[in-house]
Every structure is written in C-alpha cells, then in structure tokens.
Symmetry: C2
Subunit: 366 residues, 2 copies
Amino acid sequence: MATNTKSPVVDIHTHVYPPSYISLLKSRSEIPYVRSFPPSPSLRLVILPAEDTESTSRGRPVGAEYYDISKKIEFMDTHSIDISVISLANPWLDWVPSSEAAQAAQSINDEVNTECGKYPGRLFAFATLPLSGGKEVIVKEIQRLKSLKYMRGVILGTTGLGRGLDDPELLPIFEALQENKLPIFLHPHYGLPGSVWGERANDYGHVLPLALGFPLETTIAVTRMILAGVFEKVTELEMILAHSGGTLPFLAGRIESCIEHDAHLKAEGKLGKERKTVWDVLKKNIYLDAVIYSEVGLKAAIQASGHDRVMFGTDHPFFPPLEGEGQKWASVETNYVAIKAALGGGSEEEKGALGRNAVRVLNLEV
Amino acid sequence: MATNTKSPVVDIHTHVYPPSYISLLKSRSEIPYVRSFPPSPSLRLVILPAEDTESTSRGRPVGAEYYDISKKIEFMDTHSIDISVISLANPWLDWVPSSEAAQAAQSINDEVNTECGKYPGRLFAFATLPLSGGKEVIVKEIQRLKSLKYMRGVILGTTGLGRGLDDPELLPIFEALQENKLPIFLHPHYGLPGSVWGERANDYGHVLPLALGFPLETTIAVTRMILAGVFEKVTELEMILAHSGGTLPFLAGRIESCIEHDAHLKAEGKLGKERKTVWDVLKKNIYLDAVIYSEVGLKAAIQASGHDRVMFGTDHPFFPPLEGEGQKWASVETNYVAIKAALGGGSEEEKGALGRNAVRVLNLEV
C-alpha cells in the first residue's frame, strides 16, 4: 500500500482486457486474437501485424494480469499506487462489426465499471466507445456513461470513424464528450506503415513499432486535429495524450514554424489571430501522461504543457520484466525516477505529477 | 557582418542548389524538377510527391537565393552569421542514374568547393556522395574529398544504397568516412508514406510532411542504425542530425525501455553490457543542429547530447518570410531566441551553440 494517503499516487495509463474481451479475442483467427501456438500450451495475444510472424516473439504471453483485476491491485500495491484509472487496451472495439458495436461497448463498459466497484476508491476507468456503430450509437453510449459510477473519460485510438481524428464527422462526438466533461485518453495502436522500418525490422524485435510507431502515430493524430481547428470548434475538449504526447512537446516549435510559413494556409486565410497555436492547445486542452522513460523527455513535456498537467502512468500490464517476476518493474521505476529528477523529490510539483493532477482533472474522489 | 569576430556565429544547416544542379533539374519532368507553370513565368522547384499537385502551393518559387552564392553571403550578413557550412539540398543525387553518379558528384562537389573559395573563411561545405554509383564509386569520392579545400563532411539522406542506413553494405562507406574524419550531416527528404496524413492533408498545405514527416524520418533512420549496431562497429563515426535529431532526444528513453524489455533481442543475446545505448550514442557519436524552433525542444536536445554538441543552423533558403522581403527571417530569429533562452544570453554555452562547437567539431579555420 502507498504510505502517504494525503498525496495519492495515481496511475492513469494502465490497461485491462476484461474476461469477456478475452473471450471475444479467443473466438478470432485474425488480428487481434488470442491463441496458443503448439507445442506450447500457453496463450499468446497478438494485436499488431508486425508481431504476427513466426518467431520467438510472436505476440506476447497473456496471463492473469491482463484480465484478473486482483492482479492489478497486487501490481498497484507493489508499486505504491493508490488509484488506477483503468482502460481497455488497444485495439479496443475498433474491429467489431457495426451491428455489434453498441452491445459490445455497453457490455465492456458495464463490466469494467463493475470491476472498479470491487475496490471502491482504488479504481476508476476510461470507457470504450462503439466507434464502428456510427455517430448516433456513439453519442448514446457517451450519454449513458454518466450512469456508470467509476467512468471518468473515454479511451480513443487514432482512427475515429475510419478517417482519422480530423474528420469533421467526429465533431458531434467531441461535443458530446465536452458536454459530459469526459476527457479523451488518446492512445496509439496502428503505428506507421511497415515499409518505414525497412527489411531488417524483424531483427529488432518489437522495438521500432513500439518505441517509434506508437508515439509518431499519436503525434500525427493530434497535429491533424489541431490543423483541422478542432480545438477552435470544441473549445473545452480535454485530451490526455499517451506517452507524453508522442513527440508533440518536442516538435511543437517546428509545427508552429511550418504553419506560420505555409503559403497555402496563408492564402486560405488560416493564419489569423484567432488561430489557436500548438502551444495554446498544449496549455489549455491537452494533458500529458508521464510515460516517457526519461528526465529529458519529461522535462520537455512539463515545459510544454505545465507541471500541473502531467500525470503518472505505468502502461501495465505491458513491459513486464523479462525475468525476475514479482519484483518491482523497471518500466515503472524509470518513470518514478524521471518525475523525481524533473520536479524534485518531495516537491508539490512532484506530488501533482504523481497523483494530485489526476485527482483534480479526473475528479477522483479519494 | 557579425560584431564579435572572436566568437563566430556558424550556420551548419544551410543549403544550395548550384547552377549545374538547377540545370539538371530543369531537364527533368519528374520529381525532382524545376519548371514554370504557365501563365506564371516564374520557376518553381518541386521536390516532394506531396507538393506535386495542382494548387497554389505547388512546389516553391526558386529564386537566386537557391543558386547565387552572393545571396547566401547577403543572407549571412543580414543575420550576423560569420560562417556557413553549405550543403546541397535534398534530394541530392539520390535520383541520378548509376552510370552518371560518379561524374555528377565530382562536378557538384568541385563546384561547391569553388563557390566556397570565393569567400575564403566564410564558407565551408558538406559534400554530396554518388550513392547510386555503388560502393567503390562512393568510397573513391570520399577519398577524393581531401583534395577539396573546403569540404568538412558529407550530407546524407536516409535511403543509403536504397535499403536504409542500417544496411550492412554501408559499413565500408561509414568506415571510409570515419577514416577520413568526415562527419555525416543526416538530413531527411522522403518523409513518411502519404497515407499517414489522411485525406484532408492537402487542406494543411505542406505542414504535415515538413513539420512531422521530416523529423520522424530522421528519427527512424538513426534508430535503425543504432539497433543495427553501426556505432559498435564504426565506433568513431560522427553524425550531425538535422532538426535537433528529429525526435530522438525526446524518445531516447522510450527507445531504451523498449530495447531492454524486448524478448527477441534478449533471446538473440543483444542486451549485453557491451551494447551502446541510445544515450551513449547521443553523447559520443551524435551532434545535433539547433533547428528546432523552441526552447522546449532545444533544452531536450542539449540535455540529451550536451551543450557542447549542438550547433546553430537556419535551413536557408527554405522558410523565407511569406511577406516582408529583405527583413530578418522569423525562421532564423526563432532559433536565435531559443538558443539564448536555453543557454543564457552571453554565456559560454551560448557561444558554443552559436558557433564555437561547429568550429571545433568541423575544424573551421576562422
């Protein structure tokens, strides 16, 4: 258990695959799916095309930590985490046939909400939207979420309705989220086209799609939203960006410079004073998790968005130790260390990043 | 002219298209090419597939600042730049037929060297390699460079011999560069596959491929080199990364975490103590230009690589003011301001980033 109940540690980036979702995946033979690869009897989860190959690293072992909520609590206790805001892991329900989307989302959201209720005060959640179900179904589920006690936002991938998050068709959905004060937790899944990794990519395990594909995907998605003027149209929309914004804090200056020097945007009258800059959006609409694994990256995130807008996360159950089960996870400790280094051990700012910011932004009753 | 000759300002990221290169481009009808689009008589340069479309922003006007070296000197004087290390702009000679590569590179390198000689002490250059000519031709040109008085390295794109910079076939070329103490200035051109920008990309002018495609391409290229162990094999290879490393400083922590948690790399025995980490490479083999347009990004670059390893640059003649010809360029001033903010006006560290680091690393006699 955490030692300091007055200043809680909150993990806002932590995933689950509830039992019903695992069942869905077991019934599938295409990505995403769960199956064993004989002769080994153990189940493996394959969610990315790049990992769906014959190799020692095909997918990843899927153990109880993925679906047994008591394992989440054990992990939290081991790492002094008081509260977790759990979310369905990628690829969510993006792949569900349109006619099944509404029911699948309701079922998953109800189930996750019930799991949270088993540990009152320790678990909250981001809900999953029935994206393939169409606008009306999606908005209806957003409105239903207020009946679910532990929901504090929604997790969203980068495809939206299939045409990206700069799709104007998404505006009613963003407005519904704004109206219901539900922040979006923006999370990558699709990465980049495989051609960019080159013909030796398999030699590097999963590193390129995970280390680069994920953050670059997030950066592209949110930049397209900014360029489409989403934050000028839905001014109070709140987004928490996974992995400290992908690379947005580092590239914000270049994006701004390219916008201000673009002849086409100027000719279209889009460089007026009413334009919200990337910096404006970073300081008003965007929050960043602190899952960046370095003081260098975290400092940039903090300087770009504000020390009161970054939030601790773990990415559990991904990135477990390759050996030494039961110990503290290096992937978690690295982010603890980065927060301490960037903000000062024991400082108010550190307490904010570790938990108070999340409590304030997500209205987590402690 | 600069006011302080004891601490020069050096621009290491500044491009030219010498007259002979412009002539080559004028003879072409496919990218890259130079032509007019009637009824306008003015010449436009089209180098990216994404900009080869019917729109107001097709390519860019190509004026004397691209090929008249006296315009470079004027620009330098306007912006208090003492020395420029000029390089052929993308896409270099990547597109030249194999049989013509050797001659094209010799001709361009000779021409650029001659241009430098017109302003002794004010101009140095990065040479261009005849990449399509094959290994022997490339190494021969590298060895010939020492006969060219002003050459201080080579500029390189991300394709190498066509299979990326992690291609083992490039090792003899990297070794020849190491042996001749010629750093690589790594510069993007190809960006990312167009599909990642979505169907509304044209609404955003050139912003997405320039602001994101370029730095992401650089990040992917150098990460692939690191994963291939290039810096363990060619230990003294020096690389200057354009745009402050793309996003490498920000993502270094995540890349390291993904490497250390990769089951495949572990199974292959690649996680041993002799492995050079991304941080090791950033502090030994890599230098970063300061073309990042923000204090946030520059501070991350400095913390990742070292204040003595960052170098001022302008990207001239790209990113001119959209109006107000003859004035100081905002794209240049933004980087001056970022360096001052990150390192302190008048500090030794600022003088290093503005010029002394480049003088030391590139051996520029002043």
